[in-house]
């Protein structure tokens, strides 16, 4: 197991955003996390990275108990987050943003070659390498966020809603890129997405979360075949818990 999470809790004061979530990922897997707004998806990823305080539970990454590690140490270990909203640094150039991805690595010629690889993968970035990131379009910012994540040399890349706010064509580019990273670079992927159908196309497994709890886990086929799944994902179904029991039995 590359990632093993047991009974993870995250609280913001009285808000209990993540409730005893357990999940695991084997190396090389692509796993999706689906859930309505406010379900606790971002809180989960941020807690896994160590930038949100873990109120309870245990996180094991690559065989090490990282629960009490600071984020910087987890990033060094290859646990990387491409955050919600992309978060390019506007005052930095495109290239400087990429170098921030490699913050904890020595800038060897190997790293410089990886920067060039990112430019090969995303030619739009190459054309703007010396421009401030503020001039990038939404799609280009997402490319930059993924490129920056790649430069951290991830073993596990967590992506938080990478297609949010992108045109269908650009979202498609992002999904294709994620698929390639998994296949070509053998990076394990934990993908939070609103675009359920597209996420389930590239994922081997998915977790469905609702109100801070994992309510279902299974292969895309199992989840898709159950008509009430989408309803639950959208947070409208009242029959959620009954459905989730069935799904658990199925998986």
């Amino acid at each position: 197991m590359l990632l093993n999470v047991r009974d993870l809790d995250v609280r913001y004061g009285r808000v209990h955003a993540v409730k005893a979530m357990s999940l695991n990922l084997a190396a090389g897997e692509v796993v999706a996390v689906l859930g309505a707004n406010g379900a606790g998806k971002s809180s989960l990823l941020r807690a896994l990275l160590g930038i949100e305080r873990i109120a309870g539970g245990r996180v094991e990454f690559d065989g090490k108990d990282v629960t009490s590690w600071p984020a910087s140490r987890r990033v060094k270990e290859g646990l990387v987050l491409v955050p919600e909203g992309r978060r390019a640094i506007n005052a930095l150039t495109v290239e400087e943003n990429l170098l921030m991805g490699a913050y904890n690595r020595r800038l060897t010629s190997a790293v410089k070659k990886e920067v060039d690889e990112v430019y090969d993968r995303f030619p739009n970035l190459a054309a703007r390498r010396k421009s401030r990131a503020v001039v990038l379009s939404g799609g280009e910012q997402q490319m930059l966020a993924i490129g920056r994540g790649l430069l951290a040399a991830p073993k596990l890349m967590m992506l938080d809603e990478p297609s949010l706010g992108l045109s269908p064509r650009l979202s498609e580019e992002v999904f294709v890129a994620i698929g390639e990273l998994s296949r070509e670079k053998n990076i394990t992927i934990l993908l939070v997405e609103q675009n359920t159908h597209r996420a389930l196309e590239i994922a081997g497994r998915a977790y469905v979360v609702e109100l801070g709890r994992v309510v279902a886990v299974g292969s895309p086929e199992t989840l898709m075949s159950d008509g009430t799944m989408l309803e639950a994902y959208l947070g409208q179904g009242k029959a959620t818990s009954a459905m989730s029991k069935r799904l658990k039995v199925a998986s």
């Binding site: 930038i51 978060r87 640094i89 930095l92 170098l99 921030m100 913050y103 920056r148």
Partner: protein
């Protein structure tokens, strides 16, 4: 005569400029108006005097004063910035003010509240060019401050630490998720602030040869004015602001007398603020508001 006044103005102005750079770096990266800076200025000057008084040779005394001030600055970091992160933003400001008082009263306790005279640094070392007198300490001070500021802007523009500082300035949360150890990088800001301010205090002590526990307050006010004139968060702007204030002060003394100095300086500040509320320069440097 005017030439000599410009030289004297630049000498005084470079002291203000260094204080302003320390203040502006702290504002630009941390959005923190660090009121302990006038105290660090005083520590630079008084520690120099105390070490010389104890018979320690000049170069060692200068290094010693810098080390003491940087250590004091890191203590401020530990107990204002690091401790109070997440508190409302005025809390670090108020506690840094408490550090100013603390430093001043520690100085009084150790060295008394009297004015102390610093021995002459380079006797007979003045340069006379075309009737102008340029003191060696004046020249050295100017060169030091130019070199330090050039070094600082190189650090910010072209190094890993500089990129991290600019990232923290814009978005500390993202800095954290990229694996930046914020505490470690932020201490660089305090080291630089301590170094610049203490060097300004040392230059002041060498040039004007008087130190006392409250020497930082007037200079701190002028430094804040210089920072505002130059545009907050803008390093080269602070230099320009410091030089403007220094020369204004020197000219005001010789034309209107010492009583009108503050009127001239703060009148100028007010006029510039009315014409350009954000200061003379803006966005020239990548350092911007953050946190």
């Amino acid at each position: 005569m005017i030439g000599q006044q410009i030289i004297n103005g630049v000498t005084l102005g470079s002291v203000y400029a260094m204080v302003a750079v320390a203040l502006t770096l702290s504002i630009g990266v941390l959005n923190f108006l660090n009121f302990s800076i006038p105290g660090l200025f005083m520590i630079g000057g008084m520690a120099l005097w105390a070490l010389l008084d104890a018979g320690i040779p000049w170069p060692l005394a200068v290094v010693g004063a810098l080390v003491i001030a940087v250590a004091a600055s890191l203590m401020v970091e530990r107990f204002t910035w690091r401790w109070l992160r997440g508190a409302p933003h005025f809390v670090p400001l108020v506690s840094s003010m408490a550090f100013l008082l603390l430093f001043e009263h520690i100085a009084i306790a150790y060295w008394g509240s009297d004015m102390r005279v610093v021995p002459e640094a380079f006797s007979g070392g003045d340069w006379r060019i075309a009737g102008l007198v340029i003191g060696i300490p004046q020249l050295m001070g100017l060169l030091c401050s130019i070199a330090l500021v050039a070094g600082l802007s190189w650090l910010l523009a072209s190094t890993r630490t500089g990129r991290a500082l600019r990232t923290i300035a814009e978005d500390p949360d993202t800095a954290l998720l990229l694996g930046v150890d914020i505490n470690r990088v932020v201490s660089v800001v305090f080291i630089v602030a301590g170094l610049f301010t203490a060097l300004a205090g040392i230059l002041f002590a060498i040039n004007y040869r008087q130190v006392h526990p409250f020497m930082g307050e007037a200079v701190g006010l002028k430094g804040i004015s210089a920072m505002i004139i130059g545009g907050m968060g803008n390093i080269w702007g602070s230099i320009v602001g410091g030089l403007i204030i220094g020369t204004t002060e020197v000219f005001a003394i010789s034309y209107f007398g010492a009583d009108f100095v503050d009127l001239a300086v703060f009148g100028l500040l007010l006029a510039i603020l009315i014409l350009r509320p954000t200061g003379l320069f803006r966005g020239m440097q990548p350092v911007r508001f953050g946190i």
